[in-house]
């Protein structure tokens, strides 16, 4: 066999082939769950229906998706925390962690009753009903094969941790501490975004699942625990409006087409991939649609980007420079484009049968070039074709086609023609 596929699902391999995912919601808006359901590559059904042969089966325990409610939903959570699940598991946290452990009574995010909680595990404070999500996290994290924080709340604290909050919210990695490693030696994996691009999460989950199943190495994560291949570039580098920045043209108000930096876009200093990946199926993406980046994937979100719709201070320098240099570049490019927007047929000294070379029915009327343009075009071509074949010269010698402007040559009278609809109409029924 040329390629050994054993261990990649084809023959079942030697591994368990099952990984459980336990979803916990802290201070969440459910937007990350919604983002996951929107993911297409892979989709949640790809994962849970075992449709990708090299992926183990993912058993998803998720309050928004699961068949079961209450005790039936939570019994596997308790089994996992007790070590009796019989398969590796991943804990996914959506939403930030509230500072409710020190409360003597009450909770800020809760799920389940005391009877659902694993035997022997300590509940924070008195037997709080319902059980705090923070208690679940403490009980599940030590035996977890991996902990994944999805979304900016779980990864960095997000909006619930913003200035003026009364919940003391924090990120999962701050809650568990920097010494935390999962049972398989992994620190908290962070997939940020508010809400995250769905595929960013499912692709990362699939990568972690493959690693846990033993079929692949763990891919690279950066020093903040982000999947490096997704978050190592600024969003500006792949932004469709970055070219405007280069030419120094900026949107003055929302709805304008140009670079959005001056109406409050932080893209040049934000790590995110939404413009190259799109929001879903390569469609949309903030700046693609005209929305300014507010840094929602970054640990500083939201306060370090507030107030929104105000240009970042740094852009006064970088944007100012690009206006000067970009202005010159834009003018030179316009000249090159004028040449490139002209057919070789129009450039020939012999117009052939063409009455008006360089004219179109849409209003283009290429006049003759001014002396500066002629000089520029001459040297431009010399440079372009140097060391190669000079198509400029070859095209000059090419004879003009004889069928140019054929209707005039044949004497077809367009003014005498009428719309076919005025002569005979065939209805859909007749068709």
């Amino acid at each position: 066999m040329a390629y050994d596929v054993a261990g990649h699902g084809a023959f079942g391999g030697s591994r368990e082939g099952i990984v459980h995912v336990f979803w916990l919601s802290g201070m969440s808006c459910d937007g990350c769950s919604v983002a996951m359901l929107g993911a297409a590559n892979p989709s949640v059904e790809d994962l849970v229906l075992d449709r990708v042969p090299d992926l183990p089966l993912v058993v998803m325990h998720h309050p928004m998706i699961s068949e079961e409610s209450g005790h039936d939903l939570l019994a596997p959570y308790a089994a996992a925390a007790e070590g009796s699940l019989g398969a590796p598991y991943i804990v996914v946290l959506e939403g930030s962690i509230p500072d409710d452990q020190p409360l003597s009574a009450g909770y800020l995010a809760a799920m389940g009753t005391a009877g659902d909680f694993p035997r022997g595990a300590r509940l924070g404070g008195a037997a709080v009903q319902p059980v705090r999500v923070t208690d679940w996290m403490i009980a599940l994290a030590p035996r977890a094969a991996a902990c994944i924080a999805i979304g900016t709340c779980a990864t960095w604290g997000g909006i619930p941790a913003a200035a003026g909050n009364v919940t003391g919210s924090m990120s999962l990695m701050d809650f568990l501490g920097s010494d935390y490693r999962s049972a398989r030696g992994i620190a908290v994996v962070n997939v940020p975004g508010c809400a995250p691009q769905g595929d960013n999460f499912t692709e990362t989950l699939a990568a972690v699942v493959r690693y846990l199943d033993g079929s692949r190495d763990l891919p690279e994560f950066d020093e903040l625990g982000r999947p490096a291949w997704l978050f190592d570039q600024t969003v500006h580098r792949h932004c469709p409006k970055a070219g405007y920045y280069e030419e120094g043209v900026f949107a003055e108000e929302p709805g304008d087409n140009q670079c959005l930096v001056e109406i409050g876009c932080w893209g040049p200093v934000v790590q995110c991939n939404i413009v190259e990946r799109g929001a879903i199926n390569h469609m949309g993406g903030c700046m693609v649609a005209g929305g300014a980046c507010i840094g929602c994937t970054m640990p500083g979100f939201p306060d370090k980007y507030s107030p929104f719709y105000k240009s970042p201070p740094g852009s006064a320098i970088s944007g100012g420079i690009s206006k000067v240099t970009g202005g010159g570049i834009r003018r030179l490019r316009r000249m090159s484009m004028r040449t490139a927007n002209s057919e070789s047929i129009w450039d020939r000294e012999d117009a052939g049968a063409l009455d008006h070379p360089g004219h179109t029915g849409w209003g283009l009327a290429h006049g003759s070039k001014n002396p500066l343009e002629k000089i520029n075009a001459h040297f431009y071509k010399k440079l372009q074709y140097r060391g190669s074949v000079d198509h400029g010269e070859r095209n000059k010698k090419q004879p003009q086609p004889r069928s140019l402007d054929i209707l005039r040559q044949k004497g077809v009278d367009l003014d005498a023609s009428t719309d076919v609809l005025q002569e005979h109409v065939i209805t859909r029924e007749e068709l």
């Binding site: 802290g26 201070m27 969440s28 808006c29 459910d30 937007g31 769950s33 919604v34 983002a35 359901l37 929107g38 059904e45 229906l49 309050p63 928004m64 998706i65 699961s66 068949e67 409610s69 209450g70 005790h71 039936d72 019994a75 596997p76 939403g95 409710d100 009574a105 800020l108 995010a109 809760a110 799920m111 009753t113 709080v128 009903q129 909006i159 913003a162 200035a163 003026g164 909050n165 809400a195 929302p254 087409n257 959005l260 109406i263 929001a279 199926n281 949309g284 993406g285 903030c286 700046m287 649609a289 005209g290 929305g291 980046c293 507010i294 939201p302 507030s306 929104f308 719709y309 105000k310």
Partner: protein
């Protein structure tokens, strides 16, 4: 499966969490020996404090912060926040901006309604669940021809039930696919979903070109046939259960009390002012209204909003009334406001141990003229049908007792559908209304895209999508009145020197979740208490109670924020 625990019949109901709803919802109830549910308590078990967070922030942060209170209908909150700022600062967006917002709002429903009908509520009517709880119904379904076969293609009701099965059912998987199709249309102009990036006061920060309109249109038209099929599927399911056992009429039953603020603004009428709100409100593609015991009380936005009061007697907050002076004594038209009106509310969280007789939830209890009201696509259809004041629209016609939909052809021939004001109001009718609400939203999206094409041709797409504004330094108030997939959304703001003094959000589920000062339960609890136990086996699943609660499509993140 191996993990199951069982509860003996007659034991108290304790379902925490109720799965397949948005956000954290917990249900506690007593069951009498006859199996009747009494004393239900619906608990919202998460609090994040968005209203507190928004206070003392630059008002320009409002949209992107407040909309993140809800990841299920963040777009609706974003638009509502923009409307609130427009009223506060006297901004009128251009027609094209209004129309594109309408498209986004309608398309958001196209992703959300199928998600509810098939991912959240649908599995409760699926083959495995019905066979587990009512095997006699499964046998009956196998012998019951589906009336809507010509439209939806399923021969028997049992085939629909098989289709509703989680993940493996064709209807479940189709809903996942269709919800993604709608998201594609959304992100073309919204940037991303959930939490769009282009909603701004004064219009929209979107560079809409003919490709965007065309790509959105091609996705929206897929919903024309889909929503007809969805309506036919739910018509068949509803009839099947009613005919099998008329006690299903009581599952999730609640009084016909509805409140809705309308949605989808008329681009020629909307001017953002409170003074003209009664007028531009009635010009919407869904008519605002308040209905008590089936009787329409008003369709005027100021009359609806000014009579709303919020209670925290059973919620983990301190009461603000009596603490300091009332902030806003009258509305901008000079009508007196209650100290419990959102413009006067303060959010004073006070976590504590839940006490079913006292404070037990993080949700507050808004009331309209002291009535517990229901929100949602049912309310939206109902107020629109009853009012009969909808302006001339291409595909919608209210009759006073129904709402008619003229449906253009795609693969199915052109036709007409009609949603009738039902004689009973229960879980089944709620789901049916949401199915027709999907058609409603589809046709609104389609018509607004048509208007969008016209406006793009007339005005060019770059000039007319946003109107510039200045934020004054004055002390000002304003409100946004809007709707999401679940209906009623209001944002009330008070701003001084560009800094938010007070920001209050009422979301659809806020209205429905919990009890007021008189102990009157909200519709969630009323519906659970009205529900008979009809399972012939597997009582511990409380399937009909879950059908009742899920039929509201609760969104608890939104509700408590």
């Amino acid at each position: 499966m191996a993990y199951e625990q069982t509860t003996a019949p007659g034991d108290p109901i304790e379902i925490d969490p109720v799965s397949r709803v948005a956000g954290a919802l917990s249900l506690r109830a007593s069951v009498d020996p006859a199996g009747r549910v009494s004393d239900a308590r619906v608990m919202a078990t998460t609090f994040r404090g968005y209203e507190v967070l928004l206070q003392d922030r630059d008002v320009r942060d409002s949209i992107f912060i407040s909309s993140r209170a809800c990841g299920v209908c963040g777009g609706a909150h974003a638009i509502c926040s923009a409307l609130a700022m427009e009223m506060t600062f006297g901004i009128r967006p251009p027609e094209f901006g209004i129309v594109i917002r309408n498209v986004l709002a309608a398309v958001e429903n196209l992703t959300d309604h199928p998600s509810h009908l098939f991912l959240r509520a649908g599995p409760d009517f699926s083959e495995p669940v019905v066979r587990d709880t009512n095997p006699e119904l499964w046998t009956r379904a196998q012998a019951t021809a589906a009336a809507g076969q010509d439209t939806h293609g399923f021969t028997h009701v049992s085939d629909i039930m098989t289709g509703l099965t989680r993940f493996t059912g064709v209807l479940y998987r189709e809903a996942l696919a269709m919800s993604r199709t709608a998201r594609e249309a959304y992100v073309l102009m919204g940037g991303k979903y959930p939490h769009p990036q282009t909603i701004v006061p004064g219009g929209i920060s979107s560079t809409v070109d003919p490709s965007d309109l065309s790509l959105a249109l091609l996705r929206v038209v897929k919903f024309i046939d889909y929503s007809r099929r969805v309506a036919a599927i739910w018509d068949d399911l509803v009839s099947f259960f009613y005919e099998a056992d008329e006690r299903y009429l009581h599952v999730g039953a609640a009084p016909a009390n509805f409140i809705d603020l309308g949605m989808w603004d008329d681009p020629e009428a909307y001017d953002g002012t409170y003074e003209n709100a009664a007028h531009w409100g009635e010009r919407r593609w869904a008519t605002p209204g308040a209905i008590v015991n089936g009787q329409l009380q008003t369709t005027k936005l100021p009359a609806i909003d000014s009579d709303v009061e919020e209670f925290v007697d059973h919620s983990f907050y301190e009461d603000w009334v009596g603490k300091g002076e009332q902030r806003v004594t009258e509305d901008p038209n000079g009508n007196p406001l209650s100290p419990r009106h959102p413009w006067n509310k303060r959010t004073l969280p006070q976590p504590g141990a839940p006490n079913m007789g006292g404070k037990y939830t993080w949700a507050t209890a808004p009331r309209w003229r002291r009535h517990a009201m229901e929100t949602g696509p049912g309310a939206r259809l109902w107020t629109t049908a009853l009012a009969g004041t909808l302006p001339h629209r291409g595909f919608l016609e209210p009759t006073g007792t129904s709402l008619r939909f003229g449906v253009p052809h795609t693969a199915l021939p052109a036709g007409e559908l009609e949603w009738h004001v039902p004689e009973v109001w229960n879980a089944f009718e709620r789901n049916r209304a949401r199915a027709y609400g999907l058609l409603h939203s589809t046709l609104v999206a389609y018509e607004n895209l048509m208007i969008g094409f016209d406006l793009a041709r007339i005005g060019g797409t770059e000039s007319g999508i946003f109107n510039h504004y200045k934020i004054p330094k004055d002390h000002v108030i304003g409100a946004g009145y809007w709707g999401g997939a679940r209906g009623y959304i209001s944002h009330h703001i008070e701003v001084n020197d560009r800094v938010i003094q007070n920001y209050q959000i009422i979301a659809p589920s806020t209205f429905m979740a919990s009890r007021d000062s008189t102990g009157t339960p909200g519709p969630f609890e009323q519906a659970v208490m009205a529900t008979p136990a009809l399972a012939s086996q597997g009582h511990e699943r409380h399937i009909d109670v879950l059908r009742a609660i899920r039929s509201f499509d609760p969104c608890m993140s939104c509700s408590t924020h």
